[in-house]
């Protein structure tokens, strides 16, 4: 589904990514793990078009998407849930979800200037909304609350919900567990599995390597902008190098 070929990203003279290549197949959960600053977020930013590539290419199915700005990749079915969630804090929960459907709206230009209720009654938007409420009933209760006033976990749900509103075929998740209580982390991870089961392809960036590898099909380990190890989740879980890098060698 997604192919990244020799992608490099530079911030000024600093290299964020160095010739990274990876593949995500249909219906897989692929996780990218690595220490802070290893280039995981740069990779997701590059795929979604937030930062431009210096060299290399990125393909979604058979379409080259490198060079497209993020607002275009969303329209092609890439939902991005960035680190720190990036929800619209001063807007209401329902507005955040509505905005999630903007790419749907942009496909049909007329509806952008029309009455928003009319737009929301479109069948795809309606069914997406139902899906989101099905996954996160709490959001239905919080519909009119300011998004910024939600708790961390609820904000994460909203961020995922917002991405689902664009009817994505693939989700890019950046550290969904960041700052969440352990029980919530578990819940989110379960949800990711559930989304995969419903047909979505998922690329997950996590620091909590063990947890991520538990649910993933395959994984890549990044170090200093490069992919250093790749393999199935099982292989990686058993790989001493991974355990060393994450858990410290003296951990039992």
């Amino acid at each position: 589904m997604l192919r990244v070929e020799n992608a490099s990203v530079a911030y000024g003279r600093i290299m964020g990514l160095r010739e990274v290549s990876l593949v995500v197949n249909d219906g897989e959960i692929v996780t990218i793990i690595g220490a802070n600053g290893a280039g995981k977020t740069s990779l997701l930013n590059a795929i979604s078009g937030v930062v431009p590539l210096k060299s290399g290419s990125i393909w979604l199915d058979d379409r080259q998407i490198s060079g497209l700005p993020s607002h275009k990749t969303v329209g092609l079915g890439l939902g991005y849930i960035p680190e720190g969630r990036q929800i619209f804090g001063t807007m209401s929960v329902s507005d955040n979800l509505t905005m999630g459907a903007y790419s749907e709206c942009a496909r049909n230009r007329l509806s952008t200037v029309g009455y928003i209720g009319w737009f929301l009654r479109r069948s795809t938007v309606q069914s997406n909304l139902e899906t989101v409420f099905g996954l996160f009933p709490i959001l239905r209760e919080r519909l009119n609350q300011r998004a910024g006033s939600l708790s961390g976990g609820e904000q994460q749900m909203l961020a995922i919900g917002r991405a689902l509103m664009s009817s994505p075929r693939m989700l890019l998740l950046d550290e969904p567990s960041l700052g969440l209580a352990p029980t919530l982390v578990k819940e989110i991870l379960k949800l990711i599995v559930r989304l995969r089961d419903e047909g979505l392809t998922i690329l997950l960036v996590e620091q909590d390597a063990t947890a991520a590898l538990k649910i993933a099909d395959r994984g890549y380990v990044m170090e200093r902008g490069r992919i250093s190890i790749e393999g199935t989740a099982k292989e990686l879980l058993g790989d001493d190098r991974v355990r060393q890098a994450y858990l410290g060698k003296s951990v039992a």
Binding site: G49, H71, Y80, G89, M91, M99, Y102, T112, V113
Partner: protein, 295 residues
């Protein structure tokens, strides 16, 4: 000061304030979406007023279509300004972008001066010139048009921002352009819309105020300055805050004239308005910085 006079000060202040608010709205919209202070905002107001006169008197177009056409032309000029001057300047810092808008303002003013000459012009009133008595004060029909238009514009703007997708997208873009991009909103398209919209609102302001003040090619700077102050009092936040800012400014200026300040004369009214602005800013900064540090 008698009660009648007081009402008159309020009425006059509201009229002036509505003008400042209409101009301030343009500053707020562009600032919210792009973080640019658009020094050419006053020029859009001037364009609206001058265009309406020349369309009516020179081109002989009837009033209503002429007004609409003036606003549309102003909006188009705003869009052109964004495309050619702002979007081209990719590497520019915010200060540089502000200088670009100053350049654009001088350019527009210059073209207007060359094209229309230096004389001031006054388009006809929309309806009648007989003023209306109101609670012991008088109000000109055109002033009612000004106040009414401001209300309609701010209500429409509010509805637009709250009940259409593109309006909400503008808001989203104002909160975070990066996050807006991630849900499929094109921040540049939003900036274009913001410029066109601000220019249109500026044009509307020019169109409604020109019959009561007469307009010349030089008027943009002072009008822009007052609109900028109105937007600052409102905190560049929302259309409604800006309108409140504009009305506050108008009433402060009007009362500064009306109240006998002892040694002060009406000559200091603008200075008093600026003092109010400084006080508001400094008081608010105390609160803001406390909030910033806490979050």
């Amino acid at each position: 000061m008698s009660a009648d006079q007081f009402v008159q000060y309020l009425v006059s202040g509201l009229t002036m304030g509505s003008i400042y608010a209409l101009i301030g709205l343009g500053f707020t919209i562009i600032y919210a979406v792009t973080r640019i202070i658009n020094f050419a905002q006053g020029e859009f107001v001037m364009l609206g007023g001058m265009l309406s006169f020349y369309l009516i008197s020179a081109a002989g177009i009837p009033l209503a279509p002429a007004l609409i056409l003036s606003v549309l032309i102003a909006a188009a000029i705003g869009a052109i300004m964004y495309i050619f001057a702002i979007r081209t300047a990719r590497r520019a810092s915010v200060v540089s972008l502000i200088i670009i808008t100053i350049g654009a303002a001088i350019f527009i003013r210059g073209i207007a001066g060359v094209g229309w000459g230096v004389e001031h012009v006054r388009p006809p009133y929309f309806t009648g010139s007989e003023s209306i008595s109101l609670l012991g004060a008088y109000i000109h029909p055109q002033a009612l048009w000004i106040i009414g238009t401001t209300l309609v514009v701010v209500v429409l703007l509010h509805l637009f921002l709250s009940y259409t997708m593109v309006g909400k997208a503008l808001k989203a873009c104002a909160i975070s352009p990066v996050a807006a991009g991630m849900v499929g909103i094109n921040p540049r398209a939003m900036a274009l819309i913001a410029f066109a919209l601000a220019a249109a609102i500026g044009g509307i302001g020019g169109v409604v105020m020109a019959p009561s003040i007469s307009m010349d090619f030089n008027d943009g700077f002072k009008l822009g300055l007052m609109g900028f102050v109105a937007a600052s009092i409102g905190g560049f936040k929302s259309p409604i805050a800006t309108v409140i800012g504009g009305l506050t400014l108008g009433i402060v200026v009007s009362l500064a004239v009306g109240v006998d300040w002892g040694p002060f004369t009406s000559a200091y009214k603008d200075a008093i308005a600026m003092m109010v602005l400084l006080l508001i800013l400094i008081i608010r900064s105390g609160r803001l910085s406390a909030e910033e540090r806490e979050s």
